[in-house]
Symmetry: C2
Subunit: 222 residues, 2 copies
């Protein structure tokens, strides 16, 4: 029931980070490079798929990279729902950082790294993208979901950078709040869009992984 | 490792909403009134206490009301840690709404109710408190935790209104974002305070309840 006594229309978005890739455990920036899931990542995705059953998810959108697509495929098969690729939720193009370890980036680009941690929206990755561009494309994705799937429950499988930008966009926060949200491999969050409010209902759920000894906290700089 | 290569000092706060009270399932505003836990609430608190073991919590602060204190006692016993009452995290004083059902409040105070849903910081509860006052006292509580428990892991057991205000305070968001966060009975969230960032690492975790069939989503107006 809404504030005025009317029935609320609720659109629900499950926000899923891809399971562990081959490069996640060693802290290597991926950007648009395309490593597949690790062995542990495959296990995580299967557990996550079972966890997401019977939650009403009707369709899954995914970033077209391998690590997201593979995670999304495993979930879509388990849930028996359609899977749609969407470029708007692809990872930021880290440009010249792509393929480098965090420790290498710290040495080679100390000022840019410091900026990424403290004012990430100011970083223009050479040969890559800027966070503000990611912010615009996830805003567009949210508008699309709210319109196309009004009253439905849908899911999106994406990456740390677009996911954190998406939280800012959904809650109408400035991109300055980018680092404010946890985002672990094979986690899911739930956002409810209603007429009079948007709620981050659950954030960065990983209980399904913890139960199976498959949980690993994300690197703080990725 | 911090941005500059130094070791980060991390202070972790577990934010716990009390287990179900006798009035929660019927949607009755409580404020400073003092119903005890329901039978289901007692079960929830015990499951939550087991869930919170071995997470490094060193001390628990609690609002002095019965529903929070009883929840906190059950956890403190299971974890074998000290329990301290703190008035700064007590529920908002709902004044004349206290003891009334949501449906009664809607009929008797339609404009104030509409305001509570859309611009809650503008509501001065007759014979009660204003959200901005709650915002100030939870800000003070956060400052206290960051200073007194620097580098430690502590927990606080509180209520929907101070908890949502606390998320705004911790992430340095305006109180306008008050309704942006889920807050279910016997849930917990994790906030990490580091020198260069504050992260809402997990929000409104209730997996421990879902597993046992003890989960109930909070009323949207409470």
């Amino acid at each position: 029931m809404g504030a005025k006594g009317g029935q609320e229309v609720k659109t629900t978005l499950f926000v899923i980070r891809h399971a562990e890739s081959q490069w996640n455990p060693i802290g290597r920036y991926q950007g648009l490079l395309n490593p597949d899931l690790s062995e542990r990542g495959e296990k995580q995705a299967k557990i996550l798929a079972k966890e997401l059953k019977n939650k009403g998810i009707e369709v899954i959108y995914t970033s077209p990279l391998l690590r997201t697509k593979r995670t999304a495929q495993i979930i879509a098969e388990e849930l028996n729902v359609p899977l749609i690729e969407d470029e708007r939720v692809i990872e930021i193009d880290h440009g010249v950082w792509s393929g480098k370890l965090v420790e290498e980036v710290k040495k080679e680009f100390p000022e840019m790294f410091e900026m990424w941690i403290t004012r990430p929206w100011k970083v223009d990755f050479p040969e890559g993208e800027n966070l503000l561009k990611v912010f615009e494309r996830v805003k567009d994705f949210i508008r699309f979901v709210k319109e196309k799937h009004k009253g439905q429950t849908v899911a999106v499988v994406s990456h740390t950078v677009p996911i954190r930008a998406l939280y800012c966009a959904a809650l109408e926060l400035p991109i300055e709040k980018f680092w404010s949200f946890g985002c672990d491999n094979a986690s899911y969050s739930i956002i409810n869009f209603e007429e009079d409010r948007t709620t981050l209902h659950k954030l960065n759920i990983t209980c399904h992984l913890e139960r199976e000894g498959l949980y690993e906290e994300a690197h703080r700089a990725l």
